[in-house]
Structure formats: structure tokens, C-alpha cells
């Protein structure tokens, strides 16, 4: 299936948000995830399914003013 991850289309066979972040190499606790523009809490990654066409946003800490 196709997912849009951080604005780019990508092929994925992930079943959950946890699978998506793991397959892309995100580890630890320094990122946050939104699915279809709604925040998915870290505690819910394993229980949140993804489907074809979903938009996944993965953000990390950045300098800011």
C-alpha cells in the first residue's frame, strides 16, 4: 500500500503506526507522530492501524524562537 510520509509517497507494508516508525528507523523518544493530521500518542502507536493513502507526519525537536 501507499503512505504519504512527511509529504512524500512511500510504499509500505506496515499494519500500525509502530510498524511505520520502526521501518523508517525512528527509535527512542525524540519524535512525535500525526496520522491524517491528528496526533497519535506514543502509547497508541501499537494499536493505531494505518491504511492505504494515509498521511503520516513524523516530527522531531528543532531549534525554535
Amino acid at each position: 500500500m501507499k503512505l504519504i510520509v512527511n509529504g512524500k509517497q512511500s510504499e509500505s507494508n506496515a499494519a500500525t503506526v509502530a510498524d511505520v516508525v520502526q521501518s523508517l528507523g525512528y527509535e527512542g523518544d525524540y519524535f512525535a507522530v500525526a496520522l491524517n493530521r491528528t496526533c497519535v500518542l506514543r502509547a497508541s502507536y501499537n494499536s493505531t492501524p494505518v491504511k492505504d493513502g494515509d498521511e503520516v507526519e513524523i516530527l522531531m525537536p528543532m531549534q525554535g524562537g
Binding site: 512527511n6 525524540y30 507522530v33 491528528t38 496526533c39 516530527l59 522531531m60 528543532m62 525554535g64 524562537g65
Partner: protein, 260 residues
């Protein structure tokens, strides 16, 4: 010591973390200024890239104030706030909603709507707003305990574009914690707003782009402290004419003598 959204701090300077020459430069600026609160954001990065900044923030042991910088809509701002809370483990959010590209002036309509939603969701919302009194009152009415009015557009370093309106804001919202955010270019600007009774100053560019950022950070910290002390001490009112500061009684010899 002062209270900000239920926490106690010594420093009234909130420092932005962006645009420094190097992470070391930023670290030194934070340490030398004594700033206890810094702003951070969330961005797309390749896996692994954000972890170094994250580790540095943890080492500094400062209070984080995440922002929703560059958000254009209510939904973007609300989702970013929720992501920030999940990542940074804080319910504080510096709510920014851009309304104009050239001035980066906040969109007050989106700001109010997003603030309403986020307060319901349990956030401590710090709205970045203009000096507009009615918008500020509306935000206060929603339950915001802190407002961050601009002095001038972000990164402009212009100082106080509308000092009279800022004075009015301070006078009309005496209980509200008001932190001047954006547009401060010089330490004297920071002193000026602190003398007016504002509770704190948030700045970034003036420190980050200085030739010596740590030294400038210290200069701002001292200016903020001086301004606050002056405010607490009670400032004199300007007068139209001179008043001698040295006593005139007992002025010696020649003063009252007629010239021969």
C-alpha cells in the same frame, strides 16, 4: 523569583534556540544569561537528526516552551501542540498562528479558536499575539493566564513599535502575566518593557545573530533585571522644567552678592 504558569523562576528572560552559529554557542548563551526557559519547535527531519538537539536540551536541564511556529490554520496549530506535548512532556505551548507573510503578524481569529480548543484539551496556552487590547481580553476570557504580545515583527529588532498600546495593555490587564515576545533588538528595548511593568521578555534573533551571542545573552539578562528592579522601585515621572538636585539652601558667598 517570579511565577509563570504555576512554576517559579529566577530569570525573566525566555531565550529562543534558533539561528545560533553552533549548538555550543547556544549552550553558552543559555548558561551565561541564566535563562531557565527556552523555546523549541518540531520539524520534519531524517531519522536520527533530531536526537542530538534533544540530548542537548536534556543536558541543559531547562524548562521547555514548545511553539507552533509557522502554523497557518487552527488544525495545524492544534495538532502541532498535541505532538509537542507528547514529545516534550509538557502542557505548555507557545501558540503561534501566522496571519501575514511579510510581517508574520498573528492571525487573531485562528489564535482565539486554537487557544479555546487547546485550553479545553488541558494545555497551558501562551498565545503569541499583537498589542491589540480586545484580542488580549478575549484570550484572557478563554482562560489564558499568560500572553506574549509582540513589540514589533519577529526578527525585526525594531524595538517597541507601539509603546502606548503596550502601556494600555499592561494597565488594562494587571493580573495577566505578559511577556514581550518578538521585535526586541537591543538590551535597552528589553529594559524599557520591563520598566513598563511587563513580566518577562522572550527573544531570539538579537542574541543569536550578535557577534558574541553569550555576551549579548548576558547583556539582555542584565537589562531585563535592571528594568524590573526599576519598575519595582517606582519610576519618577518626567517634569517639564529643571529641579535642582543639589540643595540650594546654604549656597555660599557669591550667589546672593551683587556685583560691584
Amino acid at each position: 523569583m517570579w511565577q509563570l504558569a504555576g512554576k517559579t523562576f529566577n530569570s525573566r528572560l525566555i531565550l529562543g534556540t534558533s539561528r545560533y552559529r553552533s549548538p555550543e554557542n547556544l549552550q553558552q548563551a543559555i548558561k551565561r544569561s541564566g535563562a531557565e526557559i527556552v523555546t523549541v519547535s518540531l520539524r520534519r527531519q531524517a531519522a536520527g537528526d533530531g536526537s542530538r538537539f534533544w540530548d542537548m536540551l536534556r543536558e541543559l536541564n531547562v524548562t521547555l516552551l514548545p511553539n507552533t511556529a509557522n502554523c497557518r490554520s487552527v488544525q495545524e496549530a492544534v495538532t502541532t501542540a498535541h505532538m509537542a506535548r507528547d514529545l516534550f512532556k509538557t502542557n505548555w505551548i507557545k501558540l503561534e498562528t501566522v496571519g501575514d507573510e511579510l510581517t508574520l503578524q498573528p492571525d487573531p481569529f485562528a489564535l482565539i479558536e486554537a487557544a479555546q480548543t487547546l485550553i479545553k484539551d488541558g494545555f497551558e496556552v501562551f498565545p503569541y499575539t499583537t498589542e491589540d487590547l480586545v484580542i488580549a481580553e478575549r484570550l484572557a476570557g478563554l482562560g489564558c493566564k499568560v500572553l506574549m504580545p509582540w513589540a514589533a515583527p519577529i526578527g525585526s529588532g525594531q524595538g517597541l513599535a507601539n509603546p502606548q498600546a503596550l502601556k494600555t495593555l499592561r494597565a488594562r490587564l494587571p493580573q495577566m502575566t505578559l511577556i514581550i515576545d518578538a521585535g526586541i533588538g537591543l538590551p535597552s528595548h528589553a529594559s524599557q518593557v520591563m520598566e513598563m511593568g511587563f513580566d518577562g521578555v522572550m527573544l531570539n534573533t538579537a542574541v543569536a545573530l550578535a557577534e558574541d551571542s553569550p555576551k549579548m545573552a548576558e547583556a539582555f539578562a542584565k537589562a531585563i533585571e535592571a528594568g524590573r528592579l526599576g519598575y519595582e522601585a517606582g519610576l519618577m515621572s518626567p517634569r517639564s522644567f529643571a529641579e535642582p538636585s543639589t540643595p540650594t539652601i546654604g549656597t555660599p558667598f557669591w550667589h546672593n552678592e551683587k556685583r560691584a
